[in-house]
């Protein structure tokens, strides 16, 4: 794709979108900036950490484009409420809080074609309320359903023409799981490399999961 704007141009109102990234690493900031400019609204946003203010991702929630947020954190860091915290308190954004490992596994399951799984995490806490519980070998587990998305936005370090992706350091985080769980997966990368230049065993997200790539050389 020629630009981030082109890559996200067909995201409609009401779409469900996964966004990778953890503590700034692996955040697809160019795609998020384009999505804010694009203006799609009533979005369901699936991202791990929605709390920090001032990020491109926060601009999306602050702009009122998100109706529902599924995340493991929505807490700001300031002494006064962030715009997201205000929207949540005002009931303008519905929030589903998920333990981070359950969050990752729900996405992984979605990409793997599974409907749901049982986990011991959150048993006996408020986050397990209302969920089906079942004992296996004497331990209690709760049923968690898979997550899928219409679009996944992620950042990687490099891609080839087939969409094979390589990440730098901790950039990888939710990338592989979200790439598989998105019906349309869009990656922004720092570099396009020749087909064949990845050692096959070093492809971290195979191109079978990647539909569009935007190269943004200034990311490196």
């Amino acid at each position: 794709m020629k630009s981030a704007a082109d890559a996200i141009a067909d995201i409609p109102d009401g779409a469900t979108i996964m966004v990778s990234g953890f503590q700034g690493s692996g955040m697809p900031n160019a795609l998020l900036r384009a999505l804010v400019d694009h203006g799609a609204k009533d979005l369901t946003l699936i991202c791990n950490g929605a709390g920090p203010h001032g990020t491109q991702q926060a601009r999306l929630t602050d702009a009122g484009q998100v109706r529902k947020l599924i995340c493991s954190s929505a807490r700001g860091r300031s002494d006064e409420p962030t715009p997201l915290e205000r929207l949540w308190r005002a009931g303008e954004i519905a929030l589903e809080l998920v333990p981070q490992g359950t969050f990752a596994e729900r996405i992984r399951a979605g990409g793997a074609g599974l409907a749901a799984f049982y986990t011991p995490v959150s048993v006996g806490t408020d986050l397990a309320k209302g969920k089906e519980a079942r004992d296996f070998d004497g331990r209690t587990y709760v049923l968690e359903t898979a997550l899928k998305a219409d679009f996944t936005l992620l950042r990687a370090d490099r891609a080839d023409r087939l969409g094979n992706l390589g990440y730098r350091g901790t950039q990888i985080n939710f990338g592989p799981a979200m790439a598989a769980a998105g019906a349309t997966t869009i990656a922004e990368v720092g570099e396009i490399v020749e087909v064949g230049s990845f050692a096959p065993e070093c492809v971290q997200t195979p191109g079978i999961f990647v539909d569009r790539v935007v190269v943004l050389p200034d990311l490196r």
């Binding site: 700034g24 709390g51 929505a74 981070q100 490992g101 995490v121 990888i172």
Partner: protein, 223 residues
């Protein structure tokens, strides 16, 4: 009576981590344990965003925005480190491969219940992060916290008033006043700071606490 400083609590907790352990340190006080790991032990630190083998904090010229730990700090990798994706990193946790997790807490109950994720703040957004995964999945959960709140209220209690992170998982608590084990019989003090009587410790503890017959003095070097 001389309570341990925050740094001294983390030093003391570090001394109890066995050679060869895989350890996950929670955000806040627990991550400071990394600064005091005994040099003669091989202890591998795991970070839930996909690092097995965190090295020392990055200096300014080493800092790489794509090498961050669970708290977003810029870190280095130790030789032999592995980088994985989040689903694999949590598979390690929930799959029972983390020997010890050290976590902060608002409260720990004498049955091992603990609360560390929902402060019931009037407007702050919710945050659970990886706390419940670590609490349910690590082979041993240890807590590092102040013995009482700033207002002097006990944090060791008979029943948590804050929402639970997990029921019945905490095995040991490191505070500025004592090291307390959570047992089938409730709280047992293993070490107490010099000058603090068992009676005074009981007053600062919100549940019955037994002082072990071989209870030692809790001390740490000046740090």
């Amino acid at each position: 009576m001389q309570p341990l400083s925050r740094t001294q609590i983390t030093w003391r907790a570090a001394q109890d981590i066995a050679d060869g352990s895989y350890v996950n340190l929670g955000i806040g006080l627990p991550v400071l344990v990394a600064n005091h790991l005994p040099a003669d032990r091989e202890i591998i630190l795991h970070s839930e965003n996909g690092i097995v083998g965190i090295g020392p904090a990055a200096s300014d010229d080493q800092a790489d925005p794509d090498l961050v730990d669970a708290g977003g700090q810029r870190v280095t990798l130790r030789p032999g480190a592995a980088l994985v994706d989040s689903a694999a990193a949590f598979g390690m946790i929930v799959g029972g491969n983390i020997d010890i997790t050290l976590l902060g807490a608002f409260q720990v109950a004498s049955n091992g219940d603990f609360a560390n994720w929902d402060s019931m703040h009037p407007w702050k957004g919710p945050l659970v992060g990886g706390a419940m995964d670590l609490a349910a999945g690590a082979r041993e959960v240890r807590v590092i916290m102040q013995h009482t709140t700033k207002e002097g209220e006990p944090r060791l209690v008979t029943q948590c008033s804050y929402p639970l992170t997990a029921p019945g998982v905490v095995k040991r608590i490191y505070t500025d006043l004592a090291i307390v084990d959570v047992t089938a019989e409730g709280f047992i003090a293993r070490e107490i700071v010099a000058g603090l009587t068992p009676e005074a410790l009981s007053e600062k503890t919100g549940a019955p606490i037994v002082v072990a017959s071989n209870c030692a003095t809790l001390s740490a070097p000046d740090l």
